[in-house]
Amino acid sequence: MSKIVAMAAKDIRILFRDKLGFFFTVFFPLMMAIFFGAMFANLSRGPANIPVALVDEDRTAGSERFVTRLEAAGGLELEQLPREQALEQVRRGQTAVMVTLSPGFGAAMDNPFQTTPRVELAVDPTQFAAAGMTRGILLEVAGAELQALMTDSARIQATNDRNRRLIEQFTPPSAARDDFLTFIELSSRVSTLVEQLGLDGNATGAVAGGFGPPLEIGQTEVQAEQRGPTNSYASSFPQAMLWVLIGGSVSFSMSIAIERSRGTLMRLLVSPITTRHLLAAKGLACLTTTLVTSTALITLGVTVFGVKPTSYPLLALALLCASICFCGIMMALSVIGKTEQAAAGVGWGLALPFSMLGGGMVPLFLMPEWMQLLGNISPMKWTLVAYEGAIWRGFTLTEMLAPCAVLVGIGVVAFAIGARNLRWHTG
């Protein structure tokens, strides 16, 4: 037994002597706990504020009442915009969903038994979770509106009066017409009863029960709305191309660590080349590999999976800038991890949280605001923005400049940090 204890004690001692192992054993799980804790804490306070662009093309009292109720419901960060502007926001990824209340929406809300009210959603295809939550909130608000209609005697009376006038005006006398008028009369008596019982505007959901869905919701993806039919690969390929970069940068950071551990880095450094030559060669190898692999992947997407980039020149620019960024990251990683195991550990250990922060794994709107803000330092976020901008969001050159500038900036800074420290890690 004492031998087993001795061996176990030795392993634990070695683990705690290995700073990187210690980090992944203790601090990495802690980091994950903080990340998911903060995210779930945000969720437990109710749905996070999903950015929604609202287009009210109806502009009636009914639609405005619905909007007011929607604002009060919480969970959505509503911004009323003209249709084109709203669509542009979704296309640029600044808003997850566009909700359109078409002409006639208010009338349908006032008389849901005649026509089920309908809204149209235009969704960022990378934000289906946000769209799902928006649908839920819309249905909840429509249900509440229907409930209010059923318990507001004045509105019931007004609806009944209008319906009675329409029937008397346009329907010839018949038994069916008489039956329908009797139904309206009964409905009016119900409204009087509601008033007498003091339930006015204060009823439970049961009053509105027994009807079908209070709202019809149509949904399209914004890329389809903008540019005709496309497919889901347009949004999955940017993600895949991002993982090419992550994998490439981790592999190349390992290659430097391997050179170091097998001694060839020393050989390179004592040959008549400068450290600058060496770094340039490593950077070039990484850049070439990531560019070629990413290009091969998107070529496959275009030729086999029907992905249609909106701009090939901008896609080339995005590929170049993202590759520069990740080559810089490769260089920084290579000086953190002195051995290949350490380099791989550090690489993947950083890739996961940065992917999370960048929205690569969990939708950004689920995160608290500070975490979303922190996400702006994630190169993964800006890579996706640039790739999606060129592949389906239809970015202009001006729109592409911001993510590209951020990517190149991160790449240059990371490369400089790596280059500065590389020489001193050869011994």
Binding site: V270, S271, P272
Partner: protein
């Protein structure tokens, strides 16, 4: 060819090299002899520009020693075989030589000529296309040495080139070092095996804990610091050891008193030099 002038280097509190001075003479094999931790590898790393001295200067080439090894273009005249085998194991020996040759500016027929010469030198011509990962330890050691000379440098630094090799491979490496010397190369050879220093080196610098304890030819070192030799004598059931600088005279005196059945004489060597200089055995 190589000058160390009052060079010191520390790592934190550890003084790895302390006030080291020496100057290589033309065409010699210069040995740095000392136990592990003596500062030999640190000295080599400063000689090739990998480390910068805290104090003093390291210069090489020409009578005026005007080149700083930290400047990349100056390193063309240096060749280093590191202590650990530093090769790309996934590719062949010929490709390793080609790659490092290109780094030193070789190309075309000149490169191919040097690659062939180095493969011959390392006795690897027959397996030139095999990946290095399939080589034995001795073959890798020879290739490690060959890569250091692919660009035909004037000064070759060999950092413990026989560590971890079998006696046969060790002899093969000795032969190649002697061949390099015969070709007119200047060689710095670090080792903690006194037999190697004694066999190969024209002059030896004995280092301990970063300091230069003595520097001279092997013979002069032994004469100055080796002390008397050890004569072990067996007479009947009795064994005795006698310190002597004249073993034949001592033996004759002993034979006058009693019958010597067996004797063995161990002359002073670099091991005893190190022991006398430091109070410790070389392998402590």
């Amino acid at each position: 060819m190589l000058l160390f002038d009052h060079v010191s280097k520390s790592f934190g509190d550890l003084r790895a090299v302390d006030d080291l001075s020496f100057e290589l003479e033309a065409g010699e094999v210069f040995g740095l002899l000392g136990p592990n931790g003596a500062g030999k590898t640190t000295a080599i790393n400063m000689a090739v520009g990998l480390l910068e001295p805290d104090e003093g200067v390291v210069r090489f080439a020409g009578e005026t020693f005007d080149r700083d090894p930290r400047e990349a273009e100056n390193r063309q005249a240096l060749g280093l075989a590191p202590q650990s085998i530093a090769l790309y194991e996934e590719i062949s020996s010929a490709d390793n030589l080609r790659f490092f040759g290109r780094l030193h500016g070789l190309k075309g027929p000149d490169l191919e000529e040097r690659v062939s010469a180095c493969l011959d030198f390392a006795d690897l011509t027959d397996v030139r296309k095999k990946s290095v990962s399939k080589y034995s330890g001795g073959m890798k050691r020879r290739l490690n040495l060959a890569v250091a000379i692919v660009h035909d440098p004037d000064l070759v630094l060999l950092d413990e080139p026989t560590v971890g090799v079998d006696p046969q491979s060790r002899n093969a490496i000795f032969d190649r070092v002697e061949q390099l010397r015969d070709d007119g190369k200047q060689i710095v050879y670090t080792t903690h095996y006194m037999e190697e220093a004694q066999r190969l080196c024209d002059r030896v610098a004995i280092m301990d804990r970063g300091r230069l304890m003595a520097l001279d030819t092997v013979r002069a070192l032994i004469e100055a610091h080796g002390g008397p030799g050890k004569l072990a004598v067996q007479t009947g059931d009795k064994e005795s050891i006698h310190d002597t600088t004249d073993p034949l005279g001592t033996l004759a005196q002993l034979q006058e008193r009693e019958t010597v059945e067996h004797f063995q004489y161990r002359p002073p060597d670099l091991e005893t030099v190190f022991l006398n200089l430091t109070g410790r055995a070389l392998r402590d």
